[in-house]
Amino acid sequence: MTGSARAMPAAAGTAADQRRPRRVPLLLATVAAVVALAAWLLSVGLQRDPTAIRSPLLGRPAPDFALRTLDGDRVVRLGDLQGQVVVVNFWASWCAECRVEHPALNAAWSRFRDAGVVFVGVDFQDDRRGALAYLAETGTSWPVVADPGSRTALAYGVYGIPETFFIGPDGRVTAKQVGPVTYDQLVREITRLLPGRSG
C-alpha cells in the first residue's frame, strides 16, 4: 500500500486509465477555485460584526419629531432646531450600557452647550417613574423627551440602545453610534459639524 496520493501504480483491472490526463487537472482547478471562493467569503464574514446594521439615514435628513419632555413642561421639536448641531441619544433607565456612556455625554454637554449644540435624550420603552429617577440620579440637564409608541425610535431605526445620532445644522444625519458612545467620539463628531471649523 503506497498511501501516497500521487504515486500511481498501474492498477490492474481498472478500465479508465487512459482518460486520466485530460479531465483531472480541470477538475482539480475547479475544486481549487470553488474552495478559494468559499474561503474568501467566509473570511470576510469572520471580519465583520453580524449584529451591525448599517443605517440608511446617514446623509439623509433626520426624521422630524415633536415630543414632550418627561416632566411634561414643554415640547421639543426637531424642526425648531434647524441651524444647530443636534445630538439625539436613545436610552432607557433599564439599560446598563446607557449608564456606561452617561459620563461621556455629560462631559460633552458641558463642553458644547454654550456653543449652541443641543442634546436631546429620547426615552425608549421605559416607564416614566424609572426614567425620572434615573435623570435625577445622574443629574441630566439636557432635555429628555418621552417617545410614546416608540414612533420616533422606529423612524430612526433604533434596534439596540444606547444609540446616538449626530445631526448637522442642515438637518442631515452625519453619524450614528450603536452602543455606548465615548467622549472622544462625541467631540470628534460635534466639532466636525460646528460652523467655522474646517473639517
Binding site: 446594521i53 440608511p56 439615514l57 439596540g160
Partner: protein
C-alpha cells in the same frame, strides 16, 4: 398471479389510476385557482405585512412572530398606517427608510436579490433535467448491455408468471 373476479376496473387498473390522479390534480388546481383567502380582519392585514418584516431586536423572527416590545410597537405602527389608508408597500418603504433593506425578511426581487429568487428555480429545473438525463443514459446502457430488446428470447406466458411469483416472493422477503 392469483386470479380475481374480473371487475371492469380491475382489468384496466391503469385507467383507474389515471382517473384518481386526474381527480387529485384537478382538486389541487381548483384550490389554486380559488386563490388565497382575502385578509379578513385588520389584524390579518397587519400580520400579513408584519410577517414579511424582520424584528430588529430578536433577529431570527418576523415582526409578526416576535414577542419583543419593539415588534409590538411596529405592529401598532403598521395598523395605524393601514387605518390611515397607506398601502402595504408604502408601509414597508417607511421601515426600509429607517432600518435599511435588511428589515425585509426576504431579499427584494430587484437587483442582486433577484439571484436569490431565480437560483432555486434553476437548481430545481437543473436537478430534474439531470435526473431525467442520467436515468435515460443508464437505461440506454442497460438495454445495450442486455443486447437490445430484440435479442431477448420470447418467454412463454407460464414462464413469465413463474418469474413474477418468484420475484414477488423475493421482494416481500426483504433484501
Amino acid at each position: 398471479m392469483t386470479l380475481r373476479p374480473a371487475r371492469a376496473w380491475v382489468r384496466r387498473p391503469a385507467a383507474g389510476l389515471a382517473v384518481l390522479l386526474l381527480v387529485a390534480l384537478g382538486a389541487v388546481a381548483a384550490v389554486a385557482a380559488r386563490g388565497p383567502a382575502p385578509a379578513a380582519t385588520p389584524t390579518d392585514r397587519v400580520q400579513a405585512i408584519a410577517s414579511g418584516l424582520r424584528c430588529p431586536t430578536c433577529r431570527d423572527l418576523s415582526v409578526a412572530d416576535s414577542p419583543a416590545p419593539l415588534a409590538r410597537q411596529m405592529r401598532n405602527q403598521i395598523a395605524e398606517g393601514l387605518q390611515a389608508g397607506k398601502s402595504p408597500e408604502a408601509i414597508r418603504r417607511e421601515f426600509v427608510a429607517a432600518y435599511g433593506e435588511s428589515v425585509l425578511l426576504v431579499p427584494p426581487r430587484r437587483g442582486v436579490g433577484l439571484v436569490a429568487w431565480v437560483a432555486p428555480a434553476l437548481l430545481l429545473a437543473g436537478g430534474l433535467l439531470a435526473a431525467v438525463l442520467v436515468v435515460r443514459r443508464w437505461r440506454a446502457r442497460g438495454a445495450a448491455a442486455a443486447g437490445g430488446p430484440s435479442a431477448t428470447p420470447r418467454t412463454s406466458r407460464a414462464d413469465r408468471a413463474l418469474l413474477q411469483r418468484a420475484l414477488a416472493r423475493f421482494e416481500e422477503d426483504g433484501p
